[in-house]
Amino acid sequence: MDSLWVAKTGLEAQQTRMSVVSNNLANVNTTGFKRGRAVFEDLLYEQVRQVGGSTSEDTESPTGLALGSGVRVVATEKIFSQGNHMETGNSLDVMVQGRGFFQVLMPDGDLAYTRDGSFMVDSDGRLVTANGYEVQPGVSIPPDALAISISSDGLIQAKLPGQSQLSTVGTFQLADFVNPAGLEATGQNLFLETTASGTAQVGTPGLDGLGMTVQGALEGSNVNVVEELVNMIETQRAYEMNSKAISTSDQMLEYLNQTL
């Protein structure tokens, strides 16, 4: 009966991988999306006969027998490679070129991190994400601002009517992590800090290894459609082979029941 359950772990793992592939494909046009990847490992072995066990007083079993018990998904990790540069021309669209995340204040008071820099101004003049969460440190855009300019080191300046000089209204600070793959993805293009990611190190864009901010552009999703489609084919075939293993085991048992 073991082989039925072993093959079932294969089905489950392929099913999970298929969800990851579908999620990647569904987010092929999501700004700042980072693709996921399912990581598999083989499950513990049942040692039926221990290798090196004595077969007589002075001989030992050269190979032993260990039966594996299938596969499991250990992680669905995010791959933080840079997405495409998409020119939008919108003055409040900001892209991070290189490492680093924008910091966003969640309604519960916690900080979240995002690579999605499609910012907007809310009714109070605050700079917010598309979901309405405020950027940290807070930036307020004067209501009469004629134009906004964002430099590569994150300085936000506004052109006010009747003034020839630009006035500084705020700065972007980027947060970086030792292990970005350890961040917890919460949806809404946001990530949360975890013990695996390490604590956020906040700094000025362009300094200390942080990326630069680029105004008028957004970071596209880093999903590679061709790769995902190949993954999908591979997953489907692996799924079929595992279901074949289940049906064969089932036929063996069926034959047993009918014959005896």
């Binding site: 082989s3 190979t63 039966l67 292990n179 350890g182 300094l207 082979m241």
Partner: protein, 246 residues
């Protein structure tokens, strides 16, 4: 009861057991760096009184398939595949060494390097610990270079080297942690000739077609054994009928 039934039962049981291994291989058809398990049937004569007519079939492990899997490009800096023969060294929780071909590495918040299964990856002198870096590059012979945080990209610092080993395949056995270990439990010595490919992973070396054919063969073999069990039963019934009072 005739002993035939026990011999046939052993055959059927072992075929079912072999089927578990085939299922295990198929379940791991997409596991990075996986090495397929191999097995064969051996015969075990039953010794005792009378003629030595009975021989039980027993599944014997033949170890693992030594063929290399296909190298698939992923483009991630920390994905490495071993080019040709060789193994990556990882540390088990008890401090001993084990070997794997799964090179999906990641850096933890403490700066240590783990592979996808969460085992610490070994360098020249014990587990690798990296200082904070801006970018990382792993060379063909396993050297790890980084650009330290806040430095110019031209400042490359070599911080460690992966411990790549190539012990003889016959000394390696699959441990219960599903990693390879040396038979005696000792550590392998570093081999400077092992080469890696960065930005790629090695796929599982399970041959799907072969596994499916094995499955068919095992299923037929199983039916054959059951047929023998059935025959034994019929023989028994026939002899019982002979002796039955009319």
């Amino acid at each position: 009861m005739d002993r035939l039934i026990y011999v046939a039962m052993t055959g059927a049981k072992q075929a079912m057991r072999a089927m578990t291994t085939v299922s295990h291989n198929l379940a791991n058809v997409a596991t990075t760096g996986f090495r397929a398990d191999m097995q064969s049937f051996g015969s075990r004569p039953v010794e005792g009184e009378g003629l030595p007519t009975r021989v039980n079939a027993v599944v014997e492990s033949q170890g693992w398939n030594r063929q290399n899997g296909t190298v698939v490009a992923t483009g991630r800096d920390l994905d490495i595949a071993i080019n040709g023969e060789g193994w990556l060294t990882v540390q088990l929780p008890d401090g001993s060494e084990a070997y794997t071909r799964a090179g999906d590495l990641r850096v933890t918040s403490a700066g240590t390097v783990e592979n996808g299964d969460g085992h610490l990856v070994m360098g020249k002198n014990g587990p690798i610990t990296l200082p904070e870096f801006q970018s990382i590059f792993i060379g063909d012979e396993g050297s790890i270079s980084i650009v330290p945080i806040g430095q110019d990209p031209s400042t490359q610092v070599q911080v460690d080297r992966l411990k790549l080993v190539n012990p003889p395949a016959e000394d390696l056995v699959k441990g219960p942690q599903s990693l390879m270990q040396l038979k005696g439990g000792e550590s392998a010595v570093e081999d400077g000739l092992v080469r890696i490919v960065t930005g790629s992973l090695e796929s599982s070396n399970v041959n799907a077609a072969e596994s499916l054919v094995q499955m068919i063969q095992l299923s037929r073999q199983y039916e054959l054994q059951l047929k023998a069990v059935k025959t034994a039963e019929e023989n028994e019934q026939a002899s019982a009928a002979l002796l039955r009072m009319q």
